[in-house]
Amino acid sequence: MSISRRKFLGWMGAASLTSAVGTSARAASNHEFKGYEDSMAVLHDITRCIGCRKCEGACNTVNDLPKPEKPFDDLTVLEEKRRTTAKAYTVVNQFGGQAPTFVKKQCNHCQEPACASACFVKAFTKTPEGAVVYNEKVCVGCRYCMIACPFEIPAYEYDEPFTPRIMKCTMCYPRITKGLLPGCVEACPTEALVFGKRQALLKVARQRIADYPDRYVDHIYGEKEMGGTNWLYLTSKPYGEVGMREDLGNTPAPKLTKGALGAVPMVVGLWPVLLTGIYAINKRKEKIAAEEQHAAVDEAVAQTNAEAEAKLAAAMEKAAQNQEAAVAREVKKALEEAAKAAAEAEAAKDEKGSDAPDGTSEDA
């Protein structure tokens, strides 16, 4: 099917008009989710982390994860940059050579999680406690959450052929609901990890920056990043130098995709109507055109026929006239011949006395 440029632009114009109406309707809403008020959080003070990997060990134990190849007191593991896997919800990475900085990595428990917004079966839930938890029972294994997460956290059990799950830190949800500390926080010997209410921890972090302005970068990572997270960070080196993304912005992930995803119902619901409408209008246009064309043709045909008939009639009349004339002539001729023959017979009767030439008979 070929579409003319004009037609295509016409469709696009109609489509953008419809979506523009949709956008302004959303903009009028002032609803903004600022996180659950009493949600819990962890403050990770990077300046205090000594890279002992106690948190990794504790995480492994409390979550019943398989034991790794190298034990948790083997610090050579730190020499390589690692990410979270299906068998390790948290890893500690080392940055810099002489006086290294250690940074713990795990799910940041976004206030408005990208994973949850990407999941079309609602396998992720942001609980009022602050944890982002996963429900394996509804998960269909599409792994959109892994693509959506800006921190590259969710991991997948690729080696589980029948019941693969998404694996990630739960903020020890089962423990914190029982009033226990998350495993990693409890194990940290320097309190580089502190667990508490997010609002309180933000105050603690601000106080630390104010008390030791020379020690800290004046920024709490996670306070606003991606709309805020329930894992907060303090550092002495710029965040970019310790493997943390500084390009994320403060907009929560769902807000970024809301425009596009919000358009889905519109596309699904409205576009068929719109397109059908356009189609119907075009069909109707075509029909009218065809009808008009028919009429024109009919008229033309009729006209031509009439003309032809007239011509024929004229010809017939002429032919009739000719015929009549010919008949008359023949009749006349026959009459003349008959008259002549009668005259000759009269003359022959008279000849018997006179010899008269027969010139007229030759001429007829």
Binding site: L75, V185, E186, P213
Partner: protein, 535 residues
């Protein structure tokens, strides 16, 4: 930078083209090496004599990239040709113009012509005589995105260098120091009114005063050249002589130069500008602070460390209430501002960053020193005297300053060794590891050794037990402080977010102190370096 550029190019072009380009680069590299232009290592180290010629900027945007110019290279070339500075610089009123072959920038074309005619002219001349010469085509001088490294570093006339000049000039201060009379437009000298060049000669040339840069180049180089012409011991006249860090390091240092002679006091009460006698209301006034001016001259490299704008007393501009002349910085701020380089407290705070001090001081909250009453009294000495507020210009004030300083005794003794517990075994936390035997006495003695000769510490650590408070903080200074566990609980708890649990308190205290003091131990961050694994 260049490497990245090449990669970028390679990315854009198809693979074959990349190989071709690589070939070109290799060829170019071989060619450059063969051509033996300035040794690559010398350029990589950078030079101090790099001048960027962009004088046309004052006439509007540059049409061509500015020209990098190595001054010392040209000076050397002139010497070889038996020419001196006048080959390039004109003399006005016995002074060399800093501009090239002109005195003033008259018009764009005039300035441009000076460079083009003179530079290229000389270079061409050399070339035609078959001698080493400089570039002659546009692109050789106007190099786009020239990647050059300058090691230029400002030079400071510190105490040592100043004294060397005093000695060389036989105390004729007027050789350099002067003042300006705006009426007669002449320089004159008053004994006893000398100050640093920077007090008048600022960054930019102002009315009746040239910039510091112009002043120092005119005066210093002229004098050095005159001395050199007389075959006397002279200072450097080339860029690198003063501005190359490597050359600066070679300058002769006088270890303990005699005091400058500028009628400065030995001891003085820090002036407040307030009336003496028996002022009203007495109760609101802090006791005057005796200041050991003489000692502080020794601690600092230049008067400008404190006297940043002139050599008058601080209160002249920084009045008690604040004044426009002192940019509304009040006297109290000028003395106590934590983060200011020139204030008393600010400078003392900087000293606390020294490894010997930082072990304890880095964990002290910034600003804490100003909240303790004892800290105030260290300077604002509360000693009963007949008239605590003498008139500031009186002899009484002077003698009181000396008396107070004499009364201020440094604390040099430490807690007697037998009163320092030798080891402290931390029993309460054994779980995965055995109990740690803390070498307590060794730690105390190490801390004490670090500040043994530190006068600042000796005055401000006001008791032998002050040192104990490095670890035993937030509790009274005593030889029997409360145990750490009295305040720090067994585990971290969400209810007390600001106070670490006992295990974290130990780790934070030990590790931070070891880090800040730059100690070799522990050799690794393995837990077992400090803790024996429990069987």
């Amino acid at each position: 930078m260049q490497g990245i550029g090449k990669m970028g190019i390679k990315k854009i072009y198809p693979f074959g083209m990349g190989i071709l380009l690589c070939g070109v680069f290799v060829l170019a590299a071989v060619w450059t090496a063969a051509a033996a232009v300035p040794p690559a290592e010398a350029l990589a180290l950078g030079r101090a004599d790099l001048i960027v010629i962009d004088g046309l900027k004052s006439f509007g945007p540059l049409e061509r990239p500015p020209v990098p110019f190595y001054h010392d290279k040209h000076t050397d070339a002139m010497v070889k040709q038996n020419k001196d500075c006048s080959a390039c610089h004109e003399t006005v009123k016995d002074k060399l113009s800093r501009k090239f072959k002109r005195v003033q920038d008259n018009s764009k074309t005039a300035v441009m012509d000076v460079y083009h005619d003179q530079c290229i002219g000389c270079h061409k001349e050399r070339k035609s005589a078959n001698k080493a010469g400089g570039p002659v085509t546009c692109g050789e001088c106007h190099i786009k995105d020239a990647m050059l490294r300058s090691t230029w570093q400002a030079i400071t006339l510190d105490k040592s260098l100043h004294y060397r000049h005093v000695k060389a000039n036989e105390k004729k201060c007027e050789t350099c120091h002067h003042e300006f009379n705006p009426q007669t437009k002449a320089l004159y000298y008053t004994k006893g009114d000398e100050g640093a060049c920077l007090y008048c000669h600022k960054k930019k040339t102002e009315e009746n005063r040239i910039s510091n840069r112009l002043a120092s180049h005119q005066a210093c180089i002229a004098c050095h050249r005159q001395l050199a012409a007389k075959d006397k011991d002279a200072g450097p006249a080339q860029c690198s002589g003063c501005h190359d860090p490597r050359q600066q390091a070679l300058l002769e240092k006088i270890a303990d130069p005699p005091r400058m002679e500028r009628n400065q006091p030995d001891a003085v009460l820090v002036k407040t500008g307030l009336k003496g006698g028996n002022p009203e209301p007495v109760t609101n006034r802090m006791r005057p602070v005796p200041f050991d001016h003489r000692a502080h001259e020794g601690y600092n490299n230049s008067c400008r460390q404190c006297h940043h704008a002139d050599l008058k007393s601080c209160a002249t501009c920084h009045t008690v209430q604040g004044d426009e002349e002192g940019r509304q910085v009040k006297l109290a701020q000028a003395m106590h501002q934590n983060d200011a380089r020139n204030s008393c407290v600010g400078c003392h705070k900087q000293q606390q960053a020294e490894p010997a001090c930082a072990g304890c001081h880095s964990s002290i909250v910034k600003g804490r020193s100003l909240t303790s009453e004892a800290a105030c009294k260290t300077c604002h000495m509360n000693i009963p005297v007949e008239n605590p507020y003498p008139d500031e210009s009186s002899a009484e004030s002077k003698s009181m300053a000396a008396d107070l300083l004499a009364a201020r005794k440094p604390v040099v003794e430490t807690v007697p060794v037998d009163q320092i517990p030798e080891t402290v075994t931390i029993q309460s936390l054994t779980h995965d590891y055995e109990a740690v035997a803390l070498p307590h006495r060794k730690i105390v003695l190490k801390l004490a050794a670090g500040v043994k000769d530190n006068r600042l510490a000796a005055y401000f650590h006001d008791a032998p037990t002050t040192l104990c408070q490095g670890c035993h903080h937030n509790s009274p200074a005593t030889v029997k402080p409360p145990q750490c566990g009295s305040c720090h609980g067994r585990s971290s708890e969400a209810l007390n977010l600001t106070r670490p649990g006992l295990m974290a308190a130990y780790h934070q205290q030990c590790i931070q102190c070891h880090d800040k003091m730059g100690l070799e131990k522990p050799v690794s961050r393995e837990c077992t370096t400090c803790h024996a694994k429990r069987k």
